[in-house]
Symmetry: C2
Amino acid sequence: MRIALLGGTGDIGEGLALRWAYDTDHEVVVGSRDPERARAKAEEYETELDSRGVEKKITGFENAMAADRADVVVLAVPPYHVADVVEEVADRLDDDVLLVSPAVGMQKGAGGFRYNPPSAGSVTELVVETAPDDVTVIGAFQNLSADRLANLDVELSLDTLVVGDDEDAKRNVAALAEGIEGLRALDAGPLANAAEVESLTPLLINLAIHNDGLHDVGVTFE
Amino acid sequence: MRIALLGGTGDIGEGLALRWAYDTDHEVVVGSRDPERARAKAEEYETELDSRGVEKKITGFENAMAADRADVVVLAVPPYHVADVVEEVADRLDDDVLLVSPAVGMQKGAGGFRYNPPSAGSVTELVVETAPDDVTVIGAFQNLSADRLANLDVELSLDTLVVGDDEDAKRNVAALAEGIEGLRALDAGPLANAAEVESLTPLLINLAIHNDGLHDVGVTFE
């Protein structure tokens, strides 16, 4: 599959790009507002993989170009840019593309972060509102520790949650997630459950702030 | 310490009562609106412990009576009863009592449960608003799997989150939690972070609904 990581130069984008390139045969395309930056980061990821004996072509483009002909488009951008980026790439999206939303709206306050969803109820639902009607939207990868993901020396043992209204699409995103070694995907139910999935991210940050040894904390459910 | 479990006849109350009685030297008092039911449940817990070779006195009282002279009062009641129960027991609470809130407001919808906090922002903050000013309130035990807790055959390996504005009180509740074998307490920060802690409960239920083998799911952070 061809996976376009829009905002693939950011921390969660970097982690997903490296892991998919390292662990799977998927084609990884890095998107950014700035095509120069996308290309530079793609090269950086290639160098990182090369240093581990993995030769893999990773390309970098401006977001709309990156989304073009992708099977999966991951919106790894800040929550306040999500709607703009979706509109920017909308006419490049294939009908059968999977649009994946990992972003979470948060507000920093005294002693921690609070969940701060858009008026749509969650970022995932905002993406549904913004995307063309025939595009399937799935929420996933919100609760991963980006630093751990981006460090290929770290063996993962983490869960990620998948939320959406299309069962086939959820299964596909879950399979994509589980292509990454040490990542387990769990089904969090329909889109209407997205807020509870996204709320976990500020909680993880709060635990990182207030507990020694959890600076890059992830979660497992059992 | 003397721990009063108001609503100690319910599922999370039962689990905490059994575990504290089994694993620690704390005195466990079961509270209920109905003193008969409190006594019957206390006896049932004693019988359960006795069958495991643990002889321990567990008493049962009407809630206000149970709260009387307790060091720790756990409000293991449904979220819509929390304010009433706090008012009911308010004049029995010692100044230095620890009032612990494990309840979570939720609403059932299609395909899952959604977080539905009271206007105070969270149940924990509602308890703060309702309780006498000199009483310290801590949120904890929201995200435990009640069935696993109540089944003493099950070896726990779970995290629970502690949230509140008083650091000493949080440490005390964390120690109380960790008196239960296999339970680790993590600091989720100040009271203002309580909503993110409580939001985890509907998420756990949604995961239980949508994933095989997770019918009584708990969480660990690492």
